[in-house]
């Protein structure tokens, strides 16, 4: 009897060792690259928004719609575990939006975003957005690992969360281009230090740009508007 598989015959089991040396993210990264080309072909720049739940990603996009609707065309791909709520909020502002639901997964990946781009194209008809926002699933950990095909990555932390977040969740800051501190209208009620948050973020990523704003009062929104306007011109 064969000792390896227990079958009744005597035979050789050829053991083969294959060297691979390939990234586990290879499939995702290849798809992300395709998404980037696809988005560029649409004439848009893609921005991946990452934050914990409730930091104000959707609210920032709503306010952006109110302030920039006249001068900037944009569209949104919303990522959530469940519900169509965020896409409905964006569409209520007159902005094209599609909702991706992961059904449980804690992050968007390039495959899901690929689907989102096609769904969005059907909705866009002839209009061509200059910026495509991809609002990731609320989570400051897992989304950081997955390239979606974005051109810029933005990480957000709200004042109630505390200024230690960049130190506690370094991976999200390592790969981001811009750090936005949101809800600064609440600064007087919380022990949040903008200096400390910015310092920690820059320790992890010296090149990261920072903006502090409140989508509610409009404070600091001009810097965000400038950032977006520049994006559409340089890229």
């Amino acid at each position: 009897m064969c000792d390896t598989c227990g079958c009744q015959s005597v035979h050789d089991h050829d053991i083969k060792l294959v060297e691979i040396n390939r990234s586990l993210l290879e499939a995702n990264n290849a798809l992300a690259e395709k998404n980037r080309h696809h988005i560029e072909a649409l004439g848009a720049v893609a921005v991946n928004l990452i934050s914990s739940p409730g930091a104000g990603k959707t609210t920032l996009l709503e306010k952006t719609a109110e302030m920039l609707a006249e001068s900037l065309d944009f569209a949104v791909i919303e990522g959530d575990i469940e519900t169509e709520r965020d896409a409905e909020r964006i569409r209520a502002k007159g902005i094209p939006a599609v909702q991706l639901t992961t059904g449980g997964a804690c992050h968007l990946d390039a495959k899901l975003v690929h689907k989102g781009i096609h769904l969005l194209e059907a909705q866009l008809a002839d209009s061509r957005p200059q910026i495509l926002f991809i609002e990731n699933v609320g989570n400051l950990v897992c989304p950081a690992t997955f390239d979606l095909g974005e051109h810029k990555r933005v990480v957000m932390v709200s004042v109630p969360e505390g200024s230690d977040k960049p130190a506690k969740y370094p991976r999200a800051f390592l790969g981001s281009d811009l750090f936005i501190i949101t809800k600064i209208d609440l600064l007087e009620y919380f022990d949040f230090s903008i200096d400390e948050a910015v310092k920690c973020a820059k320790l992890v990523n010296p090149d990261i740009k920072t903006i502090a704003l409140s989508a509610k009062t409009g404070q600091g929104m001009d810097q965000w508007m400038n950032y977006l306007t520049k994006l559409t011109k340089t890229d």
Partner: protein, 133 residues
């Protein structure tokens, strides 16, 4: 728990290679987890064991993980600490977990005192080898 998605990606790659080599059974999979990848080794192993159950090709596969150490560079004086074992990902469950990423904000340059060091090391997760029959 994005480790689950990563292991799903690993399994698809392994399936392709096994098919190319007409293998019936995967015996061993060797993976390298970079020190700045943000991947938790324990969670990765847990996901591997959970997903291989009931999978004919992979159910007997053993996962081996290489965790290369991290190094650091000072952005100010360009002091460098070569990757060394002391900075290896901590996989001992009796101690608190700390990642090389965390050290970026906690460690000062021993040469000039500059706060915040730059990472020297991979942030990727690599499938290195598959042993199959």
């Amino acid at each position: 728990m994005h480790e689950l998605s990563l292991v799903q990606g690993l399994f698809s790659q392994v399936r392709v290679v096994a098919k190319e080599n007409n293998a019936q059974k995967v015996l061993r999979v060797l993976v390298e987890i970079g020190p700045f990848s943000g991947v938790v080794v324990d969670s990765f192993c847990f996901a591997f064991d959970a997903l291989k159950k009931g999978d004919k090709l992979l159910q007997d596969a053993v996962l081996e993980i290489k965790t290369p150490p991290a190094g650091f560079r000072c952005p100010n004086c360009l002091w460098e600490e070569e990757p060394n074992e002391a900075n290896k990902k901590n996989t001992d469950t009796d101690e608190m977990f700390s990642s090389a990423l965390g050290m970026l904000t906690k460690t000062c340059c021993p040469h000039c005192g500059e706060e915040g060091l730059l990472p020297l090391g991979s942030d990727d997760i690599l499938l290195l080898q598959i042993e199959m029959e």
